[in-house]
Symmetry: C2
Subunit: 401 residues, 2 copies
C-alpha cells in the first residue's frame, strides 16, 4: 500500500467499453500521460485485454454489466459505437460522464439520424431516403437511377449491412437480411430493434477522403490534415496523408466542414468524417465515427499528437495536442489476416526497413481480420506507399510473385 | 480460450527484471510490436507494474525468485543493473537468454571492471585507481592533485555512492560508508560483497555528453545522435539532442567510440556511454549503462525509433529501427518530485502548449524522485529549451516568482 501522504497521478480513470485494437492503442497513449485506462472487454484475450491491467469482461449491451463498470471510472468512452443509445442515456442521467454523449454518438450509431442531421446542417449528403419496404426502395431507385446503395441504419460495420442494389430484382435483399438474425446476444438483438433500411444515391466517387477532429467538452477542437483512404470490401486498406493532389483551399474547406459537424453534434473525443469525392472535386459525407478511427492510425507516428492521445485528452477534458504532421507524407497500410499466421516470424523481414513502423494488435490471424497496420513517413507519395505496401504484404503473407 | 488453429503473435515473452519507469516505457514500445512483456517488479504499485498485465512481484537479487521468473520467458532483460552478476551467470549457464549477458553487464555494474576494460580498449579514461584504504586514496590525491572523486565500484546510482574528496582529511569518508549498511535486503547485501573504492581524477568538465547504441546479438548496431546532458546532484536533469556546438566530425568520433565499446563488450540492447567533455573538447568516459537510459528519453518522440523499442528489438534479436532524429533539436527535461504533488492537476497548464509531450510514470511524488519527463521537438535550441523547462517547472511546482 502507498503511504497516505503520497498520491498516485494515475487517479483519473478512463473507462473504455470494448476491448479491440482501438482500446489497445488508447492504452499506448494513456501510459505516457499517467492516465489509467479501465476496460470492459468482450473477452480476456481481446487485443486490449492483453494490454490493460484493469480489464473486466462483460457484454457492452448488458445494462447491468455496463452500469457496474461505469461506477468505478471517472469518464466513459468507447472502442466502438455499438452500446445501445438508451443505455447510454440512462448512464448519463445517472451522472456518468459519457464521452461522446449519446446525443452525439447516435449520429455514428444510426445512419438515418446522421443523414437527417447532415441535411439540417446543410452538409453534403447524397440523395437518401428511409425506405419501408422493397417497393419503396424500387421507387427510390427509379427516381435516382440504378444502382442504389441500401444500408441498415444501425449495426453495420466494415462493409457489413451495406448492399449495392443494381435494379428492382434485388430490392428485397436488405429487408430479408433485416428480418434475419441480428446481434450475437439477446441484449444486442434488443438494441437492434428499430433498425430501418436507408436508401442512398450511388456515388461513383473518384476516391474517399477522411477528416478527423478532436473536440473537448467546452468546444476546443483541433483538426488533422485530410487523408485519402482506400477501402477494399468495405474495410479500410490504406491511407495517405495529406491527401495527394487536394488543393489547400479544398482541404481547408473539408477541415472546416468536419469542425462544423463536430461542433453542431456536440462531439467529445475524436470525430471521423468519411467523405466520398466525386470526379469534379465535390464531396458527400459517407459516414461518421466518434472514436479513434482506422483512417487516423497514421497519426501515431505521423502527427505531433496521435488521434489516440487526443481522444483521451478530449474525454479527460485536457488541452489538445498539435495535430500537425511531422513528415511531408505519411502512408498507413492495414494488415489483414491472410496466408501468414505467424506475424512475429515475419517481423524480421518487415523491420529490415529501418523506417517502417509496425503495429500488431496481438490478435489471432483469421482471413480478412484486421490484425495490424504499418506506417511509413516519407518525402514523396510513391516511394512511401511502396514501402508501406511491401511491409503489409509481407505480414499478410503475399506470395513473392 | 483461443481456437487451436489460431495463433497469438504475442508469444515472444520478454521478461524484464525491475518495475521502474524504464520497464514502463518498454511496455509502451512492446505493445505496438505485439511483443509480450512480463515483469518481475519490486512491488505491485511500481511504475511498470501499473502498466503491465503480466507483473510478478519479487526481489531481483533472490535467486529463487529470478530463476522462477526466467522459466516463463523467452529472453530476460533489465530495468536496472542491480541483479547480481553471479546469479546472471547461473541463469545463462542454465540456458536462459540473458540480454545483455553478464559478461557485458558487469561493466555497467562494476566501475572498476569498466575502467579496466576502457583502458584495454584505449577508450578515454580519467586517471583512476582502486584504493584499498584512506592512505591509498590520499596517495592518489597527492599524485593527481586534489580534489579527487571516490566511488563505490558497485551499487551506486543517481549520485549515491560518489564523493568529491577535497583533501586528505576527507579520505576516510567513502570507506566509512562502505562499512555501513548496504542494500535493503539480505540478498542484496550479499551481492554487495566485493565492493571496492575507486579513485578517479577530478575532471573539471565543460559539459557532459551521452551516446546511445542499440546492438543485436549478431553484432548489428545503430547509434543515436550525441546528446548534451545536464546533471544536478547526480541526477539527469535535461538533455539536448544533437549536442549544441559539437562539430559533426567530433560527434562522429564519439559515435564510433560508443559503437566500438558496444562491440568490444558484447552488449545486447541499449548501451549508454556517458562522457565528460573538457573545455578543449577532449572527453573521458564517465559511466556505462546497459539498458534504456534517461539521456535517451528524447528518442520517444525525437527519433524514428525510440531507445525503448530498439532495446526490445535488440534483445528479441529483431532488426533495429532507424535512430535518425525527426526534428532539428529535441530537448528532454526531467520532472522531479517537488512542491507539486498533484501532477495530473497540473496537466491542463502543461498541455496548453500543444507541442509539449508529457510522460508521467504513475509514481507517487516524493522530493527529488524522478516522476516524469517532458520532451519538446523544435527548430532552435533556445526556444525549445525554454518550452521544455517551462513544462517541467510547472509539473514540479516551481513558484511563479
Amino acid at each position: 500500500m502507498l503511504p497516505l501522504d503520497c498520491r498516485l497521478v494515475a487517479d483519473l480513470r478512463i473507462g473504455v467499453i470494448g476491448g479491440g485494437q482501438l482500446a489497445r492503442m488508447m492504452q499506448e497513449a494513456a501510459l505516457p500521460l499517467g492516465l489509467q485506462l479501465r476496460l470492459l472487454a468482450e473477452g480476456p484475450q481481446t487485443s486490449a485485454a492483453l494490454a490493460v491491467p484493469h480489464a473486466a469482461v462483460g457484454d457492452f449491451a448488458d445494462a447491468d454489466a455496463v452500469t457496474a463498470f461505469a461506477r468505478d471510472v471517472d469518464v466513459l468512452t468507447f472502442d466502438h459505437e455499438h452500446v445501445p443509445t438508451g443505455l447510454l442515456h440512462a448512464l448519463q442521467d445517472a451522472g456518468v460522464a459519457v464521452r461522446p454523449g449519446p446525443d452525439a454518438l447516435v449520429h455514428a450509431q444510426d445512419k438515418a439520424v446522421m443523414r437527417r442531421a447532415m441535411a439540417e446542417l446543410d452538409a453534403p449528403n447524397p440523395r437518401w431516403r428511409v425506405v419501408a419496404d422493397a417497393d419503396a426502395l424500387v421507387a427510390f431507385g427509379e427516381e435516382t437511377g440504378w444502382p442504389v446503395i441500401a444500408k441498415t441504419s444501425r449495426g453495420g460495420y466494415d462493409g457489413k449491412g451495406v448492399w449495392r442494389i443494381d435494379g428492382p430484382d434485388a430490392a428485397a435483399t436488405p429487408f430479408a437480411a433485416l428480418a434475419g438474425p441480428q446481434g450475437p446476444t439477446e441484449a444486442q438483438r434488443e438494441a437492434d430493434a428499430g433498425v430501418v433500411i436507408l436508401a442512398e444515391e450511388f456515388i461513383d466517387f473518384a476516391r474517399e477522403l477522411s477528416v478527423l477532429v478532436a473536440r473537448r467538452p467546452g468546444g476546443e477542437a483541433v483538426v488533422y490534415p485530410v487523408s485519402e483512404t482506400v477501402q477494399r470490401d468495405g474495410i479500410c486498406h490504406e491511407t495517405t496523408t495529406p491527401a495527394p493532389g487536394l488543393p489547400p483551399q479544398r482541404a481547408a474547406e473539408l477541415q472546416r466542414l468536419a469542425l462544423r459537424i463536430a461542433e453542431a453534434l456536440g462531439v467529445v473525443g475524436i470525430l471521423a468524417v468519411e467523405l466520398m469525392e466525386r470526379r469534379d472535386g465535390t464531396v458527400v459525407v459517407n459516414e461518421l465515427a466518434m472514436r479513434p478511427h482506422n483512417t487516423g492510425h497514421w497519426s501515431i507516428e505521423g502527427a505531433v499528437t496521435s488521434q489516440f492521445e487526443n481522444h483521451l485528452r478530449a474525454v479527460a477534458d485536457l488541452p489538445l495536442g498539435s495535430p500537425a504532421p511531422v513528415a511531408p507524407v505519411v502512408v498507413m497500410s492495414n494488415v489483414l489476416g491472410g496466408t501468414n499466421d505467424d506475424l512475429l516470424g515475419t517481423l524480421p523481414a518487415v523491420l529490415a526497413d529501418p523506417g517502417t513502423r509496425v503495429h500488431l494488435y496481438g490478435k489471432a490471424v483469421k482471413p480478412g481480420r484486421k490484425v495490424g497496420h504499418v506506417t511509413v513517413c516519407g518525402d514523396d507519395v510513391a516511394t512511401t506507399r511502396d514501402a508501406a505496401r511491401a511491409a503489409s504484404a509481407l505480414l499478410e503473407g503475399a506470395s513473392d510473385g
